[in-house]
């Protein structure tokens, strides 16, 4: 199990290798990585600054991971989420799930990113040609998370 909230970048290949090394029970790994886009709502984005609530962030991510493990038979879960100033093309988040079979790996990865988007206390500030603006939450994120309601 690993939850990491960090300013530094991460290496997806190295994380994948660490997740699978010596684990011959794992039959499949699903990886989701989120990146900073250069456009949002029709405006060019030159930078994005992620703010979070230290303490609560880790607590919420641990709770989300525990819920995924309760629902699916997972060999391992990795969530890395960055904060601070990022630029288009930079990695923001990595969610990886390892399981004996692909269904559990795919479904739990999708569940984790959907829940993370509505529960983990992060906020994005975008820099655009018109100045800085806080990203607004999307209804589509709420409905994506609601699909997983018990």
């Amino acid at each position: 199990m690993a939850i990491r909230v960090q300013a530094e970048d991460f290496d997806v290949g190295a994380e994948y290798a660490a997740l699978t090394r010596g684990r011959t029970s794992v039959g499949g790994v699903t990886l989701f990585s989120g990146l900073v886009r250069d456009m949002a709502g029709g405006a060019a984005v030159s930078a994005m600054t992620l703010e979070h609530y230290p303490g609560m962030t880790e607590k919420q991510l641990e709770a989300i991971e525990a819920e995924a493990r309760r629902r699916w038979p997972l060999d391992d879960v990795l969530i890395i989420h960055r904060y601070g100033r990022l630029e288009p093309g930079d990695q923001i988040v990595l969610v990886a799930t390892a399981s004996a079979h692909r269904d559990a790996a795919f479904d739990s990865c999708r569940f984790l990113i959907d829940w993370l988007k509505t529960k983990a206390p992060f906020w994005k500030l975008e820099a655009t040609p018109d100045g800085e603006r806080w990203v607004e939450a999307k209804d589509s994120d709420d409905s994506a998370a609601a699909r997983w309601d018990p």
């Binding site: 992620l50 609530y53 303490g55 206390p121 992060f122 500030l125 806080w134 939450a137």
Partner: protein
Amino acid sequence: MKIFYFAWLRTKIGVPSETIDLPAEVKTVGALVDWLKTRSAKHAEALANSKVVKVAVNQEHVPYDHPIEPGDEVALFPPVTGG
């Protein structure tokens, strides 16, 4: 009681956190938000639309009818936008 503000609530109110003496009659999250509005014009403006003011007590998301105690850690923030 310590109150934390994040994202545009922090920039509109102008401070990342403040320490308050919780009035005895303030017993729920909703009552606390209403009371905080009376502290300044900036508070009133930032907290005007309760639909976009979310609250955590002791680092857990809670609804406005959630009870609060003087020792609680309270945070106010807009809907989250991570991932």
